[in-house]
């Protein structure tokens, strides 16, 4: 890979955002290998771990390779970040590595427009504050989680271990491509690349049919979203003649001006369609309605995967996409409201499902879906910085939560049912896990002064501020309460209370399909003796949970600290924290709260022209005149200030309800006070537990009809289309059979035929002649 990288890695610093970012490889700028290396290192790790698999390495070498490479990538990201984006002013730049899908052609001489067209989609990286921020937490978390996985996956050392880390590294590579791409096509590469890794890792335990099915489901549903994204990319290309961000934003400027002036009617329909298509892609990748169904199932994968891919990074790609192409989303008056409503409804729906689940990993999965809904709302209510801040905080605490759940699962032999676990924190060796969990839960529940609290507040407040989205604000507020409840339901059931547990039926890699386990020299040596392909290959049974080792504990502790430390991001930097400052300097900063506060408060920002763009025309003027007029209030107060208290209160209520129902007076693991409540709610808990039967609904509505259609097509193909061919093929034979009697073997018959033919032809000739 590195060999392919050409000598033209150069970066340039454009004058300002939106102006054409000059492509590297030209006159000025020095070669910047480090940026390319951020992408290359994970790929290198992938190749090396793959090599380990080929060489049948049985040690933990692949893990160390991965951890080292990712740490290197993180360090380089940090360096780049520090060098370019720490200050108040940051300049995006492009690093061109090599040409990918690039070619040009002469345009139709008669068409309006440029005389030469070019499709330029290169391996080139666009670094601005947004992508740098994203890369920072992606590589950072990936390093930590790789470290965690080195222990977590140790039961699978051998081919499986290599496979895991190869896919893991490949994921980070793809994510880096996605985030750092300088064009939409490379983003698409990363986009599908992370999908592939997700597929491979969900299906890691490939002997479990459910894991295989989940992997397939994830990939296919993602593909549905991908199609929308691809269409969006094509539409962008046709409309603007480019897929490179820098050029694109420049080309879109006239439309943005129009949108600014509220003249949406003058923006062509197809331009307005672009955000709607991109949105579809984002919904697929980020598990929003109606495409969210894959994410809960994705928990079939190993927990580190769930933590990294399905909680912290990949699923936020949709958020990233919208943030990255934010200017385009402003071009349509309906795009952002749709995003807001989808986000809000997803948040609410998945929170209700999460409340009724018993599998703690699934609960976390639904909470992820729910929190992603928050992020989308954040973007949609004109608060990209709020959305992105939530992405960052969520990445840390959700990774923490998953890893804690993973530790439990690891230690308790795959037990994930909260009715069978209780008081885990009191078991020796589990204290760090318990505290980690507590910190994660507090964050998720939005407990005051945690990072999650601040990031959620930003979104909630902005929902009330932004005109026309108050209803969404209320939905999100309710959801916040539900979130606090189900989060602490897990904590109170599993980690505190009386010590009682039941081990799961998995014993270290049972069901985990050792690649090298069967038929060959088995490292563990159990399975061979049994002489059958039993999935439960390992003979020995552990009767005690075994506590996590140093790697897991270190990672949990680090993450716990980081989750708490993330709070600090809110207090450094500008008005809404460091993240807001970063977001504001990126493409997502075309409109942000900072901007409309900015005019009044004098924060460093862009010229007002960029700052004030609203999708609700009638409020444009109000906005344009500065921050005095807040269109929305909550209980008559400044929403940002009011929200500090309101959301804290809602969170506290949720936690208290959880405490009352699930901890107070609980004697065993299996039952709690909540059980008594269930009959009162009628069938609703059952429906919620059944995930509102959305999967079944899709199955009935889409999959089954398609399946039937496929069979019908197959029948048509076999009998009608092919039948027609066979019919035509049989026609000569049939015709032959029809005229065969003429060859009766009788002399007279022949004579008659000859005479008849003669007469007929002569008669015809005579008729025609006369």
């Amino acid at each position: 890979m590195l060999n392919l990288i050409q000598d033209t890695i150069v970066h340039t610093q454009p004058e300002s955002l939106g102006a054409a970012v000059e492509k590297a490889g030209h006159a000025h700028g020095q070669t910047d290998w480090s940026v390319a290396a951020i992408v290359a290192l994970p790929l290198l790790a992938c190749v090396l771990t793959g090599l380990c698999a080929a060489l049948r390495v049985k040690s933990k070498l692949p893990a160390w390779i991965t951890v080292a490479s990712l740490a290197g990538a993180f360090a380089l990201t940090l360096k780049t970040f520090a060098a370019h984006f720490m200050g108040a002013e940051s300049h995006p730049f492009v690093v061109h590595v090599f040409d990918w899908v690039t070619f040009s052609w002469a345009a139709d001489a008669h068409a309006q427009g440029p005389q030469t067209n070019e499709l330029a989609a290169n391996f080139a990286f666009y670094l601005d504050s947004l992508s740098a921020l994203w890369m920072l937490f992606v590589t950072g978390l990936a390093t930590l989680i790789a470290l965690y996985a080195s222990e977590y996956m140790s039961h699978d050392q051998g081919a499986g271990y290599c496979r895991f880390f190869a896919a893991f590294s490949l994921f980070v590579f793809s994510m880096a491509c996605l985030v750092m791409a300088d064009n939409l096509l490379l983003l698409y590469l990363g986009w599908e690349g992370v999908g592939l890794c997700s597929y491979l890792l969900i299906g890691y335990f490939y002997k479990k049919p459910s894991a295989v099915a989940a992997a397939k489901k994830a990939f296919i549903i993602n593909r549905i979203g991908d199609l929308f994204l691809a269409m969006g990319v094509m539409l962008i290309f046709v409309q603007f003649g480019t897929v490179e961000y820098s050029v694109l934003f420049e080309k879109a400027r006239p439309y943005i001006e129009l949108a600014r002036a509220g003249q949406f009617s003058q923006i062509p329909f197809l331009v307005k369609l672009i955000p709607c298509l991109l949105m579809g892609g984002a919904f697929g990748k980020s598990a929003q309605l109606p495409l969210y169904v894959w994410l809960p199932d994705a928990m079939e994968g190993p927990t580190p995967v769930s933590a990294l891919i399905h909680a912290a990074t990949m699923v936020t790609a949709g958020v990233f996409l919208i943030a990255r192409t934010y200017p385009l989303f402003l071009l349509s008056e309906i795009a952002l409201p749709v995003v807001a409503w989808v986000g809000a409804l997803t948040a609410l729906l998945s929170a209700t499902i999460g409340m009724a689940q018993f599998d703690i990993k699934r609960i976390m999965a639904y909470s992820t879906v729910s929190q992603l809904g928050y992020m989308f709302c954040g973007l949609a209510v004109l608060s990209p910085s709020g959305g992105v801040f939530h992405v960052v905080t969520h990445a840390f605490f959700k990774a923490l939560l998953f890893l804690c759940c993973g530790a439990v699962m690891h230690g308790f032999a795959g037990q994930l049912d909260l009715r069978k676990l209780s008081g885990v924190m009191k078991v020796p060796g589990w204290r760090i896990v318990g505290f980690g969990m507590l910190i994660g839960c507090l964050n998720l529940a939005g407990f005051p002064l945690t990072a999650g609290y601040f990031s959620k507040d930003m979104i909630l407040a902005e929902a009330f501020v932004t005109p026309g989205t108050a209803v969404i604000g209320w939905i999100l507020l309710i959801t916040a309460g539900l979130t606090a409840y189900y989060t602490f339901r897990v904590f109170f059931r599993v980690f505190v209370g009386p010590v009682a547990y039941e081990l799961g039926d998995e014993h270290h890699g049972a069901d985990h399909g050792h690649d090298d386990g069967h038929g060959h020299g088995d490292a563990h040596g159990h399975a061979q003796a049994k002489g059958h392909a039993d999935a439960h290959g390992h003979g020995g049974t552990h009767h005690e949970p075994h506590a996590p080792g140093w790697a897991i504990n270190t990672v949990l502790a680090t993450l716990a600290v980081l989750s708490l430390a993330a709070t600090g991001l809110y207090f450094v930097g500008g008005d809404h924290g460091a993240v807001a400052g970063l977001v504001d300097q990126s493409s997502a900063g075309f409109h942000s709260p900072l901007a409309h506060h900015g005019a009044a408060e004098g924060a460093p920002a862009h010229e007002a022209g960029h700052a004030v763009v609203s999708y609700v025309p009638e409020f444009v003027h109000a906005r344009a005149h500065g921050g005095e007029v807040h269109a929305g209030t909550i209980f008559g107060a400044d929403p940002h200030k009011a929200m500090y208290f309101i959301s804290a209160g809602v969170g506290a209520v949720g936690i208290f309800v959880a405490f009352w129902l699930h901890l107070a007076g609980r004697k065993s693991a299996a039952t709690s006070r909540a059980d008594a409540l269930l009959p009162a709610l009628g069938p609703i808990p059952g429906w919620a537990q059944g995930k509102w039967y959305v999967d079944e609904f899709y199955d009935f509505l889409v999959r089954k009809p398609l399946w039937v259609l496929s069979h019908i097509f197959y029948l048509i193909d076999s009998y009608l289309v092919d039948g027609l061919v066979d019919f035509i093929g049989a026609a000569p034979r049939a015709a032959g059979k029809v005229i065969r009697p003429s060859q009766s073997g009788e002399l007279h018959g022949y004579a008659l035929g000859m005479a008849g033919g003669l007469v007929i032809l002569i008669v015809i000739v005579a008729l025609v002649a006369t």
């Binding site: 073997g745 002399l747 007279h748």
Partner: protein, 113 residues
């Protein structure tokens, strides 16, 4: 059935030529019908002879019409060929009769399809 050949000498009235041609055509058709309907090999052969002679008659008539000898020349050759065919037919018929003791053409239809 008139001959629109103007400018040619007309020693024989066109109508007369027409009569000859009619007879000749009739002979041809009779031969044809006889060939198709009769089962006896010898009679069938005679029918083909009849058709040959129809051609001969037409040739003679035309020769007279055109006032040249070509028609008659043709007839002489027709007769010769007819004789040769007759010889062959006789040989063949004898050969066949030896095999099946019958002159019925319907005896011979093993080859078909």
């Amino acid at each position: 059935m008139t001959l629109a050949q103007t400018g040619a000498p007309a020693p024989m009235a066109p109508s007369t030529l027409g009569h000859y041609l009619l007879v000749s055509a009739l002979l041809l058709v009779i031969g044809l019908i006889g060939f198709v309907t009769r089962r006896n090999l010898i009679i069938m052969f005679l029918c083909t002879e009849l058709m040959f002679q129809a051609a001969g008659l037409a040739a003679v008539a035309f020769g007279r019409y055109h006032l040249n000898l070509t028609g008659q020349t043709l007839v002489i050759f027709i007769l010769t060929v007819a004789a040769a065919e007759a010889a062959m037919a006789l040989a063949l018929v004898v050969l066949l009769f030896r095999r099946k003791e019958s002159l019925n053409a319907e005896e011979w239809q093993d080859l078909k399809g």
